[in-house]
Amino acid sequence: MTSAAYENNAAPESDLRRRGMRLGDLVFKGVAIAAALASTVLLIWIAWKIFDLAWPAIQDFGLSFVWTEAWDPVTNTYGALIFIYGTVVTSLIALVLATPLSIAIALFLTEIAPKRLAAPIATMVELLAAIPSVVLGLWGILVFGPWVRDHLEPWIQDTPLGWLPVFSGEPSASGIFTAALVLTIMIIPITSAICRELFIRVPRDLTDGALALGSTRWEAIRGVMFAYAAPGIVAAVLLGLGRAFGEAIAVNQTIGNHNAIPSSWFDPGDSLGSKIASEYVGATSLEQASSILYLAAILMVISLATNVVAQFIVVRFERARRAV
């Protein structure tokens, strides 16, 4: 942009040399543009290819696949409802549990903790996000799951919540509920990190004003910070939700892999990502994998939609903030 203006003042050089330098500029810019184009094309290619792969199955099973509650290789009836249910219910439970916890952690780090304490705790929450999902799943199925079965689930059944049908039945180590709790652990660091960024950026004088008017710290947070950061919080929650929708491995290890919609959340079920992950051994040809590819297409649509909505909110939020 500005380099052309400067070049006129540069030391005199031979035309050839200067053209060589221009060529370097052109090539470098060309390569950079190519890389940027490639990543855009890659995203479109992934979306298109997944549909292309799923297309034979979509034609075979039709749209009713989406709401068919069956997965039976013997009678050759396949449907995605069992897995859509597992994905949506585990992710929503995780969302409901993780959102208040994440916001509370972010508020603790920005509003309550002294700086010396906030930094190491923020690091620890970050490290929670760094635990690979397969490791968290391993812990989830061998340590956390049995604890949930022996202590947490019986305790819930003793509270008034136990009367709800979703909390009925035998407690079990692997099931919808255990998977949802593991997902909660996975999305807390994501959501809380974004919320922390948001809360740091809330102008101090706004909250100071509320405090000066005599509100308590919580009232200032609720009235000023939440109002200011609300769209950002929604986007943070949606990004966490997108992550929960897409998680395959930790859910596969903890959800119990059962091809049915369980009446109780304590019972085993399955999710889209988890079902796809289960089938990797048999997936050697497209024909054998066709119903799995249909599941992949559904999963991609759900998580892309969640992500795009989140990005849209972020963009609008930032534009509004720039205008201020």
């Binding site: 397969v134 796809i276 992949a296 998580s303």
Partner: protein
Amino acid sequence: MSELTADPYDITVKSNGLRRRKIVEKAFGVLAIGSAVLACTILVLVLGTLVYKGFSQLNVDFFTKARPLFGEKGGIADALVGSALIVGMAAVFAIPVAVLVAIYMSEYARPRVSRALKIVLDVLNGVPAIVVGIFVFGILVVGHGQSAVYGAFALAILMLPMVARATQEILEVVPRSLRDASFALGVTKWRTTWNIVLPAAIGGILTGVVIAVARVAGETAPLLFTTSIAASQISTDVSHALPTLPVTIFIFSESPDPGEQAAAWAAALVLIAFVLVMNVLAKLFAGRKRRQLEGS
């Protein structure tokens, strides 16, 4: 009891109900501290379990021998070699492209184009890892069979947006004055970018790279469909499927055999140790970068 009901954003002070407001304030403080303690407790519990269950399994054989056949004693050397090769290849594939994308965004593109690319990268980052695995399965594995290179390609797709966004963010805080000084000396744009801007940002770029490497080293989902069905022997032939650390942990974790579960714990301990070391490295790089850029 009505002072909190009418308008959710009404913060005007009412003199009555002070006791109640103080209780709410206390409850908020306790809940916030409790949430932070809970998150830290979970981290400590997971790490503690890994050390407790995995550490006793670690010995020289574990790092030098291949996966045991049923009932035999052995190690995970095959998976360590496979993971190192695959993650290394993924980094080689992803980093140059990612840095170039970031350079285009911060040095060449108009703000509008740059913002659009940001969204593309963030959406790409949000594509589920298992879907990326299916994508690579569909374009490469079908017809050719599994191979470590395809696994690396899948991991590279995950790394690309992470490294590109981290690099772009750090390039944007490299001071304008550095570029202007270089231009004033008659240096061309691409040489300025290569010799001035990139070196100034190298700490931040390394931070992004190291975090991305740590993240994909633990990814299982993209490898399941690309490089999971492998012989359990130490091999460096990347044209075939190689065993990897995460896939090994995944398979062992669902095994009923206590011996394999024990091996899963030890392998998980090795993996998490690597991830933690990488994260500490990233923190060190990040600290250096900040000091340098603040100094200039």
